[in-house]
């Protein structure tokens, strides 16, 4: 399978584009590109069924959003029918523009869901975890342990349930869950202690070696300060728009401090990392194409935002189309094309042999 980082880049860019270009035609391009990717990954994944169900649910929700929107908004020229004006919230003219606007909003949401469906099917959870940066190492270890032991805890839960049943205990609902939950937690603790022994015996330090408590306190202070600056910058930008430049400066400063603190924290975790996944030409292609699409869209947004939005109320019922942006969006289909061009992945994929 592809390197998880390239997947992340693709999903991130696609999601941002779907939200920025809230325009039926662009969205359709994004959805088509995603569909290609989805075809490429659905062949080799085991969770297709649950995602398909979720996508159907998404469609359902979309269909609900349309009348909801139409009933709430009473702007626009093409009136479909009228409700008595004295009805609270929903009274007034029901317009075509409102229906179209609602449909677009729901479409954007559904496209987002679709993108994440493709992402989840194509990426491996464990590989994704190994992407965690060094300054989040401890959280990564805890999550890794959790992932490893979820199946065992499920098996224990089943075992415990059986054992209590043959003692005559009946599980009629959550009221009777005590003889299940207590042994489950106790087993969790006992297992944890055994695991901790094994980890210690293999040199798991966990501690940030080489960092004095004072230095650590300083880094923490820096992070606190940067968060404070972020907050101030955000608030200033809203309430005092004439100070926008200063606000952005504060935010930039906060970001720099934060990145520095993260970097130092990461450096102090004295551990090496074994890289198993290789970054290939396909990964570079995916990353570059996705980032190019995003860059193009960003440039367009700052130079001429009107092209990217669909405004049925003011701009006319039919959406405008800016061809270069459309072309950029098709770049999102690259992972799909690459995946379809490969034979069904074998070799490198983790093999699940039935127990």
């Amino acid at each position: 399978m592809r390197h998880p980082l390239s997947w992340l880049i693709w999903a991130g860019c696609a999601a941002v584009l779907a939200l920025m270009a809230r325009h039926p035609l662009y969205l359709t391009l994004v959805v088509l590109a995603t569909w290609l990717v989805y075809l490429g990954v659905a062949r080799s994944s085991l969770m297709v069924a649950s995602w398909r169900a979720l996508l159907k649910l998404g469609l359902f929700i979309w269909l609900i959003t349309i009348p909801f929107n139409a009933l709430m908004i009473h702007q626009g020229r093409v009136v479909l029918f009228r409700l008595p004006a004295h009805w609270p919230l929903i009274g007034g003219p029901i317009t075509l523009e409102a229906v179209l606007a609602g449909a677009t909003a729901g479409y954007a949401l559904w496209a987002l869901l679709f993108i994440f469906a493709a992402f989840n099917l194509g990426v491996d959870a464990a590989q994704l975890l190994r992407l965690a940066p060094p300054f989040l190492y401890q959280a990564g270890v805890v999550t890794s342990i959790a992932l490893t032991f979820i199946p065992q805890m499920l098996a224990s839960a089943r075992e415990i349930r059986e054992a209590q049943r043959i003692r005559g205990h009946r599980f009629r609902g959550w009221r009777d869950s005590l003889p299940l939950v207590i042994p489950l937690l106790t087993t969790a603790f006992e297992r944890a202690v055994q695991l901790a022994e094994s980890m210690d015996a293999r040199g798991f330090g966990g501690a940030l070696t080489g960092m004095t408590p004072r230095y650590l306190a300083r880094l923490r202070g820096m992070m606190v300060l940067s968060l404070l600056l972020f907050l101030i910058g955000m608030v200033a930008q809203i309430f005092w728009p004439h100070l926008a430049a200063l606000a952005y400066l504060l935010i930039a400063l906060a970001a720099a401090m934060l990145l520095y603190a993260f970097h130092r924290l990461g450096r102090s975790v004295r551990r090496s990392r074994y890289r198993r996944e290789r970054w290939g030409a396909g990964d570079s292609a995916i990353a570059l194409c996705s980032l190019a699409a995003l860059a193009g869209a960003l440039w367009l947004r700052y130079s001429n935002p009107a092209h990217m939005t669909y405004a049925p109320y003011t701009g006319g019922l039919l959406p405008a189309f800016h061809a270069p942006l459309g072309l950029l969006l098709t770049l999102l289909a690259v992972p799909g094309l690459i995946a379809l061009a490969e034979p069904t992945p074998e070799g490198d994929a983790l093999q699940d042999v039935a127990p």
Binding site: V141, Q194, S198, A201, R202, R271, S272
Partner: protein, 531 residues
């Protein structure tokens, strides 16, 4: 390589020290076996070698420990991990990630090894333990033996000089145990690693051991060459006990060695074998039972009839369907095809609540049952579930199980054997007539095994039917009248224990394998009660 001088250690909150002025020396390249009853301090001793005691547990330690020239008490487990690799009992709880390759590099990552060294070591260790085919597998899909070998591999990547193993095979079936022990032996012979391991089922490993370290329970340790020590310990395997009684020199450690002494037939005439107790009315009738898990058949047409008062053992490799069969007998599983009648009740049409009044099933893992604050409450819970008054107990139950002393204890603080018996009590508090035991002697030492056997004899005397699924041939040879062997979901053998063991050496006891004669299965058969 390893020296312990006047080592004493007390766990935090304990009244008495576990180790008291212990003196021990282990030479480089030796394979040392640590034996002793539960609670004698085997685990503690092993953990002193890499610093887990006292760094992980706290407590008070005095005396000195030197392993490969380093002091674990001063250094701690993190720094000792490069010299001492430790593997633990439970194959399920030694892994941080789910992939074999990622787990193998965990130890090296902790020490900051560069990428190329890690790659080389992974290749080396996979080759050394012959597990290259497991490289990309998910750990959760491996068998117990494979998991333990992966655990071994993951500590081996640091190329330690000493390997310490705390009961590595007690959770494994015989085949898996053999794989692991063979791997250890290879590491000891080929790489010259010093291996120190503890084990209850001595017969598996005593043939390879250079040295036996015995912990009698007074806090000290006695050590010596294997043959000498076997005469002193009270948990010797049957071959050694027999050899000692018959004066065989040198003391045989394996069946091959014992055969050399077989020239003359045994001096005493064989004890008249006790007549097989006459089976009562058929209590359990299984007809053409089929069961499948997710399309994979586990039982294929099993036929079995068990009469009242019989003691039946069910044996077979892992996956042959033993646990599945037992679960059918208690009604946890319903037959897909065929039927199971228990005292006239058809399990397909009888609710579980009714069946468990007659059949008591004690599962493999007693921890799944125990959740109360005290042993007394555990028993009361079962009594209440069945509609009996909470504080009443079947007369004689506590004494027969030997758990009267623990009534106010927190059940999960007890040792494995004691927990096993408390779980037994929790099920038997319902006074079932038929008792099903699933692997009751896993991880249990000799004394506790004997307590269990006494209890089973007591139940038989009361007319109860006992069915045990187990890998423990010695237990079967000593206590069970009838042996049923399952192979791939079918009954392969079914008959009196003696006859079946004589026919199938793979399932015979040590004495049985030695003589190949149905009259001689246990030491008692040969010595007529003299020990």
């Amino acid at each position: 390589m390893i020296q312990l001088r006047r080592l004493s250690y007390t766990y935090p909150g304990a009244a008495t020290p576990v180790l008291r002025d212990l003196e021990l020396e282990i030479e480089a390249g030796a394979l040392a076996l640590v034996v002793g009853a539960s609670g004698a301090g085997k685990s503690t001793l092993l953990r002193c070698l890499n610093g887990l005691v006292p760094h992980f547990y706290g407590g008070v330690i005095s005396g000195s420990v030197r392993v490969a020239g380093e002091d674990p008490i001063a250094r701690g487990p993190r720094q000792m991990s490069r010299l001492v690799g430790m593997v633990f009992q439970d194959p399920e709880t030694q892994f941080v990630v789910d992939t074999v390759e990622a787990e193998l590099v965990f130890a090296m990552e902790n020490h900051g090894y560069p990428q190329d060294v890690m790659g080389q070591r992974v290749e080396w260790v996979l080759g050394q333990l012959e597990i290259g085919h497991l490289r990309k597998r998910r750990i959760s899909t491996l068998s117990g033996g494979e998991k333990q070998r992966v655990a071994l591999a993951s500590v081996l990547t640091l190329q330690p000089q000493v390997l310490v193993l705390d009961e590595p095979t007690s959770q494994l079936d015989p085949q898996a145990a053999d794989e692991v022990l063979q791997a250890l032996r290879a590491l000891n012979r080929e790489l010259g690693l010093t291996v120190v391991l503890s084990e209850h089922r001595l017969e598996r490993v005593v043939g390879y051991a250079d040295q036996i370290i015995y912990l009698p329970g007074d806090g000290g340790a006695l050590a010596g060459p294997a043959r000498e020590m076997l005469a002193q310990i009270d948990q010797a395997p049957p071959l050694a006990t027999l050899g000692l009684a018959l004066g065989w020199q040198p003391l045989p450690l394996t069946i091959e060695e014992a055969r050399a002494h077989l020239g003359s037939p045994p001096s005493a005439p064989p004890q008249k074998t006790a007549p097989m107790p006459v089976a009562g009315e058929p209590e359990i009738v299984v007809r053409d039972l089929w069961h499948a898990y997710d399309g994979r058949p586990a039982l294929r047409g099993v036929d079995l009839t068990v009469g009242q008062g019989e003691a039946v053992a069910i044996m077979g490799v892992n996956g042959s369907g033993k646990t599945t069969l037992l679960k059918h007998l208690v009604g946890l599983l319903r037959p897909a095809r065929g039927d199971v009648q228990v005292r006239g009740l058809d399990t397909r049409h009888t609710p579980l609540e009714e069946l468990i009044r007659t059949v008591g099933y004690v599962p493999q893992n007693p921890n799944a049952l125990l959740f109360a604050e005290t042993v007394r409450e555990e028993l009361a819970f079962t009594r209440a579930n069945h509609g009996y008054p909470r504080d009443s107990l079947p007369p004689g139950l506590l004494e027969a199980l030997g758990i009267e002393r623990y009534l106010a204890h927190y059940p999960r603080d007890l040792s494995v054997g004691e927990r096993q018996r408390v779980a037994l009590g929790a099920i038997l508090a319902a006074e079932p007539q038929i008792i099903l035991l699933d692997e009751p002697t896993r991880g249990v030492d000799r004394l506790q095994k004997e307590a269990l056997m006494r209890y089973l004899a007591h139940e038989r005397a009361q007319g109860r039917t006992v069915i045990v699924s187990t890998h423990d041939v010695e237990l079967v040879a000593e206590t069970m009248d009838r042996l049923v062997i399952l192979e791939r979901g079918r009954v392969a053998e079914d008959g009196p224990t003696r006859e079946v063991m004589a026919r199938c050496p793979a399932y015979a006891s040590q004495i049985g394998q030695l003589y190949g004669d149905p009259r001689y299965l246990t030491v008692g058969d040969l010595l007529g009660g003299r020990r």
